[in-house]
Symmetry: D2
Subunit: 289 residues, 4 copies
């Protein structure tokens, strides 16, 4: 049974005009909502307005089930894309896709345990059996779908079916070493987060650490982004870097990179689950806490 939601979060984007903040904050205020956080951004080039508002429902005068209907006219008036999320009504469901590397998976599991990431992991999906015991030791179902050229589409179909049945809110590619087909990506727009182990757009594609070493860069990075059908071209959510030198072997880069990858991926997952990301074409607007 679901808890009573404690807070509502509105994410909205629309053509810029006057009065949006006033009208929306009034909408909340006249129903006795207490705004905890309000952040907005105007893209002056595209003349677009973006907003995130978070308010307490403690004394809210309308039932939360009616909230979305109540807001609809305002959304329509501003020609807005919008959604309202109710916090604490139920935990979001996150599916993790992995291959053989454990560090990103382990990190996500650990952050869930500490409470830093607040969600459920209903399933871990892999093309390899390697991380089964790790997953099961955390009580999470581990499903293996081996992938080869012949079965890729059919295996993905099964995965999609499973993910839809589970009604997942987010899919995390935690160093999943398969390129998803368009059919998969199209099913979950702005719902798949990938970690790429380079400072994008540098070193797109495979073996970015090797590419970085060959180019002789002095800094390496990691990038979390929404997966789109253009590989490594999706909207960037978070990036971080670390210094390297001529002394670092390829293995040193891999080691240093692991620390980046897990932090950059976890941050993106957290931002998504807290409804802090608005996608604006191939860019993101991040309403940081």
């Amino acid at each position: 049974m679901s808890e009573k939601p404690s807070k509502a979060i509105l994410l909205l984007s629309c053509p810029d005009t006057t009065g949006i903040v006033a009208r929306i904050s009034h909408f909340i205020f006249e129903r006795q909502g207490n705004i905890i956080n309000l952040d907005q951004h105007v893209d002056t080039e595209d003349k677009m307005f973006f907003m995130r508002a978070e308010w307490s429902l403690e004394n809210f005068t309308i039932p939360t089930k009616d909230l979305i209907e109540a807001f609809r006219p305002l959304g329509k008036e501003f020609k807005a894309d919008w959604k309202i999320e109710l916090v604490n009504s139920k935990k979001p469901k996150v599916a993790i896709l992995v291959s053989k590397y454990s560090h990103c998976l382990q990190d996500l599991l650990w952050r869930k345990e500490t409470g830093e990431i607040d969600c459920e992991f209903p399933v871990i999906i892999s093309n390899h059996p390697d991380l089964q015991s790790l997953s099961q030791s955390h009580g999470i179902e581990y499903k293996v779908y081996p992938i080869n050229k012949e079965n890729k589409l059919s295996q993905e179909k099964q995965e999609i079916e499973l993910l839809k049945k589970l009604n997942v809110d987010l899919i995390v590619l935690a160093r999943y070493m398969q390129i998803l087909t368009d059919q998969f990506i199209d099913e979950f727009p702005s719902k798949i987060i990938n970690i790429h182990h380079s400072f994008l757009p540098a070193f797109i594609g495979s073996n970015p650490y090797k590419q970085a070493q060959d180019r002789g860069v002095k800094i390496i990075g990691a990038t979390s982004h929404y997966a789109t059908i253009d590989l490594d071209e999706g909207p960037i959510i978070q990036q971080d870097i670390t210094r390297i030198s001529h002394r670092d072997s390829l293995n040193d880069l891999v080691c240093k990179g692991r620390d980046l990858e897990r932090i950059v991926l976890a941050k993106a997952v957290k931002l998504h689950l807290e409804h802090r990301i608005l996608v604006n074409g191939r860019k993101t607007i991040i309403f940081e806490d």
Copy 2:
């Protein structure tokens, strides 16, 4: 003659309650102001509300000279500390105090030239003649007030008089190597920005780089803060750091530190001039761009 102001900026702090954002954004909206930026923060521990709103006056329906009076009832109702600044009506006036080191001064002069810092420098005050020609080559008056134990209070009095006559909006201690007396500091509350060449609260007082080297830290820093009567204890505005190693001599720390100092000081000056800082006791709230 002053230009017509293009934007208004409200900085406000008050006890937290419901409806502040709604009421204030409505105040702006009903006068046809277009909000460019609105940022707020609730200190849940102190139950205080902080807000910065920036709006265009292009189609504003009341004369800007009446704006402050018009807002007064709302400010009173919320028991708020508040001020409204009109942008572009006139450039803010910034006095710089220096001793012998030129790097922070030079950096501020350079940033003014590029337009990054938008203000006037009506005077540069020093206890030494060393930076006179640099100041004058930028066409800025340079006043020398030599300081010793005996004349400190009387010299400071003259400086205060001058600064009050010039009606300065901000005083920047750009590596000014004298400790200001309480009489000076009390005249300009939250209007004096100092740069301390350490990562405060580590290494308070003199020779922080020497202290850092003696302690064997692996990172040094710089801190810009509002000057208060407790030395190096004022509200921190900005901090930054850089890595050092056992190979760095004291002179290396001084060199590396200079780059930190000028960036950290310039950032604080910019934040202040853009009305992005609210002081909350011994802390600051920074509404970053």
Copy 3:
């Protein structure tokens, strides 16, 4: 049974004089050792010389068991403190002390699994039972010594006895929330590494995140250092920082800090195990890879 050592590492400090590098590299060369890495540092203030040399033993002409004796005359001539470590002959033994927080422990266990840290963990010691199952799931003995004012000295004595019996090379305080007594620390000079969750020397003592929040700093840090009888005053090995803002609650600092702590502690452990640290009074010389 122990493997044949593949490399030797010399760590040496002595009064500075001419010819040390020439004489020592000649010592290695005339025995057919191939230098893989040589790093040195002169402290010009203290007129001290520090050196780390790492060479391959593949074609070494004297048995490794005689190496230390062979070097002794040279060490004596330079009045040096020195030690020679044989790599791969046996894995170093590292004891971990914990209380209730799991993140640093988990991180060390994970890095051992990936091969990033190359050692044995013969025992995990705690004053609480909380991390028993985590330890045991990695097949490591977990010993609980509950500590109170009355039993502290006697419990510590048992711990010391155990650690000496196990002949550990390093003791890691992985957020161990007890202050060790002098008797404990004196037993293991430069062999105990602690993680302090602040940017030392700022915020010495308890609750550094609370101290940081109260002071309103814009950056928090973590520091790994050798434990000495002066609390939080031991030679610093590694530091790192992350940015915070007025929006961060105390819990946010704790979360952000955890990522710093585990990275900064792991790095120090790795540097120690690779014999890259020389202690110079209250400072360290780090011969980075």
Copy 4:
């Protein structure tokens, strides 16, 4: 008249073999040189050895004018590329090429004044007259060679002639907005340092800040590198980055970038002048202080 050199610096690269450090340090020792700094690196993939040695000539038993001849047999034996620089005998000569942006030029001038960069600037060359008064206020000759499609080769020829006549040790492209032709670059191999205002290899070519904004990256960077005939592909010397967000306008990126550019360029110039860089194909080995 030139001062007596106080130190010698050897930079050497050769196929890896045993005994190089021993033989070279012995060469220095037997002539009573005191090694101040010795750093080496083995590229295990290419089986190449790289070394930098710095020693005091105070008690050196052979005249410095004979030093290079004395070392020649050793260099030949190891089939090495090598050079020996005598410090303090004369200041290195650095020519700066600029267009209209002043920040990198101003920064280099300022660092020379503080003594951080130890060199002479015999000439500043530009394709525009804009920075003439800045250059002349520092007493440096400013030569304008306007460039268009037709005259590029002939103008460059005059520049090359001038630079050769002046016998410059280094050419710094301080935001010089012309692409040098191959004829120019070939004249000064590993002697031309460029600053590119992106985190290479991301955003090669023109308008990297615009490219960065269009891609929606969360971090921007700057890269200093030796110019080669492949544009923006030369060996990287130094890189640094800063965070940006969706709030940053293109102008904000330019402002933030300027601080990166001047620090990253100055660092590269300093490393070059201190003979700390060895070029290894398209990579650099940096023997950091």
